[in-house]
């Protein structure tokens, strides 16, 4: 508990540390024996005292305070701080909050626990604190079967007055379990149908995304070794075991998929522990919040790229870097040919990981929505800066086959920011309107990838897989009449390179705008096709109602997405409009 280690003198401390380490070695000996029995080639590495590293599982169980309030506890460990949820109004708060902490020879080993009373009207007040030396706690001689302890909470202003007590427990996580569960979890990213089995292509996606050529060359070898009956699929557990062995011989990842930190290959255990902790932070498995994941970190790791828009401002290292670009196939109506749209494999994988897996669902529940909002707002500011204009030529070069500058109204020099270029206007006549004089013919509202369905049922069968999708959910209760319920649905998806202004598909009168706040998930098919994600009914959007003579009412829904969450209209309620006229545009922002 707090205070005890401070009383030791230097020599005694040195001796004590030595014996503590010996006791810790002894405590971990059980793990070693089990590991030896399992024939893992890595046995004993954790027990090398000079390179000691392990994961300590610290639990803040409950506290007893001297008055009733709503309480939260924070744990500071090294440079990280984590917090519990806020308790009910009580003098005996119960949290049962767990946190995994990396404990290593030269790293921090004293955790400081602070207890705050919470107050909506002012700041949280620090009421008590204590410190716990985790290394000492885990290696103490007394009653080695007990992992729990009750610590005094001290008054921060006097340090000698006891203001309460807190019950904590701490244990060392079994390193074998850490390795196995990590391998299972990393593999589960690509188990798209969640049947616990992996095909070679699923496994291959993952290894390619790691960006390690050596590992990529061995993936077939590893997969064949696991696929003993040669049927092309292997169980997750079999592959996890092989992956763990390979991971020790030759690490697969050069940088952490979650936070993007470069991993020290020479320090294999820390490497794996880092990944485990990083994944934990995002999955909601751990109750405490805070720590590893910030939006800055998220912007570096591929797991959180989350959107095909992720590289729009950095095309020098953008979509076509590497040979492993993935693609979406679309049918070009003009040329009547199938065309492939390239997307970096890491982005595809990250979108699948986030939007199509239970792991991703957990991530979305633990702060990723806020990260998407924050990333989009920051991207908006960046794209509105004068400096962003320097990205325009790179962008144009990257999409040289898809952006026709000859039809853009203004020359490139005209655009002072990237966003100005992004919402570029086209020259009059650049988009001929079909049957211009006939209001009974509807036209395409945007340069886009289009999907059309006679009914909502068909859209659900062929495209929209979010379990909660409905027309009422899309339009909002007040906008949705019975006539829309099984109406016809046309989806126009805009890609980064597209002309970003949208137009009226029919002639009529703009009746009203309804702004619906929401998330900024990607609108890529990967998310739309996910049963876990309800992009169209959860994203930020504006529903406008058009009243027409030939088509009755037409609902026009402009939906924001990751990075491109800003929706601007150039018409207002009551305006009479002709089909083909500009209605508004999407731009970078939140």
């Amino acid at each position: 508990g707090h205070g005890s280690s401070k009383e030791e003198n230097g020599a005694a401390e040195s001796q004590s540390k030595g014996s503590r380490r010996a006791r810790l070695k002894q405590r971990l000996h059980l793990h070693r024996r089990r590991r030896s029995r399992s024939n893992s080639p890595s046995h004993g590495k954790l027990l090398n005292a000079e390179n000691f590293a392990g994961i300590a599982l610290l639990t803040l169980v409950r506290a007893e305070m001297k008055f009733k309030d709503k309480w939260l506890a924070c744990v500071s460990f090294g440079e990280q701080t984590f917090r519990t949820n806020i308790s009910d109004q009580t003098d005996k708060p119960v949290w049962n909050s767990e946190k995994k902490l990396l404990l290593e020879k030269n790293g921090p080993h004293v955790a400081r626990i602070s207890i705050y009373e919470t107050n909506k009207m002012s700041r949280n007040n620090l009421i008590g604190y204590c410190e716990i030396d985790l290394l000492e706690f885990l290696t103490r001689d007394s009653d080695s079967n007990s992992n729990s302890e009750i610590l005094d909470l001290l008054d921060p202003s006097t340090s000698d007055k006891i203001v309460g007590k807190i019950s904590v427990s701490c244990s060392v996580e079994d390193p074998i379990e850490t390795e196995k569960s990590f391998a299972r979890r990393i593999l589960s990213i690509v188990d798209y149908n969640e049947d616990g089995k992996l095909s070679f292509s699923e496994f291959s996606d993952l290894i390619n995304a790691f960006g390690n050529q050596v590992a990529a060359n061995k993936k077939e070898e590893m997969f064949k070794a696991a696929d003993k009956n040669g049927d092309g699929v292997v169980s997750m557990d079999e592959l996890a075991a092989l992956l763990a062995i390979q991971q020790e011989k030759e690490p697969l990842m050069n940088c952490c998929p979650v936070c993007g930190e470069t991993l020290e290959v020479s320090d294999k255990l820390n490497y794996m522990i880092h990944l485990t902790l990083c994944f934990d932070e995002g999955t909601g498995k751990q109750v405490m919040t805070g720590g590893f994941l910030t939006d800055k970190q998220a912007s570096y790791g591929w797991m959180f790229k989350l959107s095909e828009w992720a590289h729009v401002s950095s095309y020098d290292v953008g979509l076509n870097s590497g040979s492993s670009a993935n693609h979406i196939v679309v049918f070009d109506r003009r040329t009547k040919r199938l065309v492939e749209e390239l997307i970096d494999e890491k982005i595809v994988l990250s979108m699948r990981a986030i939007y199509q897996s239970k792991l991703g669902l957990g991530l979305l529940d633990t702060g990723a929505k806020d990260i998407l909002q924050s990333l989009s707002e920051k991207q908006g500011k960046k794209m509105n800066s004068v400096e962003s204009a320097k990205d325009i030529p790179k962008f144009v070069e990257f999409f040289k086959d898809q952006i026709n500058l000859a039809e853009v109204k203004h020359p490139l020099e005209h655009f002072k920011t990237f966003n100005e270029f992004f919402v570029r206007e086209l020259k009059p006549g650049a988009r001929p309107i079909a049957y211009m004089e006939r209001d009974d013919v509807a036209i395409s509202a945007a340069d886009s990838r289009l999907m059309a369905f006679k009914s909502v049922d068909e859209s659900l069968r062929f495209w929209i897989k979010g379990r909660k999708f409905s027309i009422q959910g899309l339009l909002g209760k007040d906008q949705c009449s019975n006539a829309f319920i099984n109406g016809t649905l046309v989806i126009f998806r805009l890609a980064p390179q597209d002309y970003h202004r949208f137009h009226f598909p029919v002639s009529g009168t703009v009746q009203q705008f309804v702004h619906i706040p929401g998330c900024l998930y990607t609108v890529n098919p990967i998310a739309v096709n996910s049963k876990y994600c309800n992009v169209f009914t959860e994203n930020k959007r504006v529903v406008s109602m058009l009243s027409t003579a030939e088509f009755g009412k037409v609902a026009f829904v402009a939906i924001g997405a990751t990075m491109v969450g800003s929706i601007t209209f150039s018409k207002k309620e009551g305006d009479h409009v002709k089909k083909g006229e500009e209605f508004g545009y999407f731009s970078f922002g939140g």
Partner: protein, 56 residues
């Protein structure tokens, strides 16, 4: 970003090629102004198919 247009039941007859691609879960690349479909009132009368017209 995405735009979704919802038409009332039986208000529009969408072009067949767009429906056919969508029924194969295949997106169709289009530009602003391309024909999307016709009002059901008009569909009963029928529009000339320009692709089958011949200059004489």
């Amino acid at each position: 970003s995405t735009v979704i247009c919802v038409f009332e039941k039986d208000a529009i007859e969408i072009d067949e090629d767009l429906l056919a691609n969508s029924a194969r879960s295949l997106e169709t690349l289009v530009t602003v102004g391309m024909k999307l479909g016709v009002s059901k009132k008009l569909a009963n009368i029928g529009l000339p198919n320009i692709e089958k017209c011949v200059l004489q």
